[in-house]
């Protein structure tokens, strides 16, 4: 403690150091620790690989994962939930949603409301996947899906139209299970 006269005694922490290397004891310790290491690596071998073989096997996502958007229809009537109110477009910080609304004609209704989205486009090359559109929507017509493989060869291919957003994804992204 006299080495640090300017420090209070209780602020000096003694670090516990290992025994000095070398000698018979050192050789024995090295041998023992090597055996312990061998045991550790063998345990890893028995546990088996944890790799996710990506293109064939996908990383499961959480249910709240914000991937590519989806537009929804009513399951019973088959009408679109979207009424073309453009609230999502207003909420979008990246300004990547374009909605052109049109009046529903009786007899060939597209949506459940008075109006429907004649054009509904999301430019996914601009989208920041913040999920504000989902929050803004009064009818839960737009939600964030689970798809994350959105790479494409052409920027114009990343502008998703209403038909593409309504369609089911070709390949489902696996969801994480309970407690995963």
């Amino acid at each position: 403690m006299t080495e640090f006269p300017y420090l209070k005694d209780d602020s000096v922490v003694e670090v516990q150091r290992g025994p000095d290397p070398g000698g018979v004891g050192g050789a024995y310790r090295a041998f023992r620790e090597t055996l312990r290491g061998l045991k550790t690596t063998m345990a890893r071998l028995i546990e088996g690989p944890l790799t996710i073989q990506y293109p064939e096997e996908k990383t499961p996502v959480y249910p709240r994962f914000r991937g590519r958007h989806k537009l929804h229809k009513f399951e019973d009537t088959g009408l679109e939930k979207c009424v073309g109110c453009s609230l999502c477009a207003a909420a979008c910080p990246a300004d990547c949603i374009r909605v052109v609304a049109a009046e529903n004609i009786p007899g060939e209704r597209v949506s459940a409301g008075e109006r429907y989205a004649a054009v509904y486009e999301i430019n996914l090359s601009r989208c920041i996947f913040c999920g504000y559109c989902e929050i803004a929507c009064p009818f839960d017509a737009i939600t964030m899906g689970h798809d994350y493989e959105l790479a494409d060869y052409d920027r114009s291919d990343l502008i998703f139209t209403k038909e593409m957003l309504l369609a089911e994804p070709i390949e489902r992204t696996p969801l994480k299970g309970e407690g995963e």
Binding site: A27, T34, G37, L38, T41, E47, G48, P49, L50
Partner: protein, 332 residues
């Protein structure tokens, strides 16, 4: 019994040629499989799969590797010494193939010994040709005209000096107990008990020295991928580089074979006579897996640690082992 260690005993020339061709073919078929095995096992030790894309279970990976290496330019630095630079990778291959000759795969069956050749000096022959490999590394590293290669070569020379002595002393115990230098005789002497039991210390020392001899982790200082950019191989490319790698695996096979014959009872095992080479191969396979297991576990030693382990621990231990064995042999 046919006098196998008799220097006047010889087989017909064509038998020798066929035997050498078979041994050569089998070992060179195993070598590429060993590279896959090593990469896959190291992967498993690290929670990975290892190569599994080329062919079923990645079994064709070495083919792809060799194809890639062959298509590369055989590059030579401007200030390298051409002849020595080319000789560098060839010498270790020669030494590895020569050492294969004395590994006993089985006893004499139907007048044909299931080994390349049973030389009366047996294990001395292994030391003689085994040390030749280091000339290849030294020449290759020195003639590259690069300081990293030179450093790697110097390290390998220092390593050779530190470990060859302990290795020899470790085997001396076995030689004293069996009373013969011939590997076939030594295996015969293990009919009662494998030498790993009375010579456990010798086995450990031999394995430690064997790791150094084959330039494997934790004694892969001459290569030291991270510090020396592959050491003596830095300037090599293409198949010359590939043959250095090949030699590493061949040396593992040779050291495993010697260890299996000297300590693990060689071809001894239950079952009919034709199973003998299989038993030998199985024991060697076990040792090869052990080599890989150790590589996945133990970090590389520092240069001075390597030296002090060799001279201060292994050498005295091996000497004591020889002394104890000598007393034991005389008393019993």
């Amino acid at each position: 019994m046919i006098p196998i260690a008799d220097p006047y005993y010889a087989e017909a020339a064509w038998v020798m040629i066929v035997k050498s061709l078979v041994i050569f073919a089998i070992v060179f078929a195993i070598l590429p499989l060993m590279t896959v095995l090593e990469r896959k096992l190291i992967g498993r030790f690290q929670h990975r799969y290892g190569p599994n894309r080329v062919g079923p279970f990645g079994i064709l990976q070495p083919l792809a590797d060799v194809g890639k290496l062959l298509s590369k330019e055989a590059f030579r630095p401007a200030n390298a010494i051409p002849t020595l630079f080319i000789l560098g990778p060839l010498l270790p291959v020669l030494s590895g193939v020569l050492a294969l000759a004395i590994i006993p795969w089985g006893d004499v069956q139907d007048g044909v010994g299931l080994y390349g050749i049973d030389v009366p000096i047996g294990i001395l022959y292994f030391f003689a040709v085994g040390s030749l490999a280091f000339y290849g590394l030294l020449l290759g590293g020195w003639s590259s005209g690069s300081k990293y290669s030179f450093l790697g070569a110097m390290r390998s020379a220092a390593q050779l000096i530190s470990y060859e002595v302990s290795m020899g002393l470790a085997l001396l115990g076995v030689i004293m107990m069996s009373g013969s230098l011939s590997l076939v005789e030594i295996v015969h002497a293990q009919a009662q008990i494998w030498f790993i039991v009375p010579q456990a210390v010798g086995f450990l020392i031999f394995m430690a020295a064997g790791f150094a001899e084959t330039n494997r982790a934790p004694f892969d200082l001459p290569e030291a991928d991270a510090e020396l950019v592959q050491g003596f191989m830095t300037e090599y490319g293409g198949m010359r580089f590939g043959s250095f790698l090949l030699v590493e695996y061949m040396e593992i096979i040779v050291v495993s074979g010697i260890a299996a014959a000297m300590f693990l009872g060689g071809w001894m095992g239950p079952g009919p006579g034709w199973l003998d080479p299989i038993w030998m191969l199985a024991k060697m396979f076990g040792l090869v897996v052990f080599f890989i297991w150790v590589r996945a576990t133990v970090p590389r030693l520092r240069y001075d640690q390597l030296m002090s382990l060799g001279w201060k621990v292994l050498l005295p231990l091996a000497t004591l082992n020889v002394l104890a064995t000598a007393v034991l042999v005389v008393v019993t």
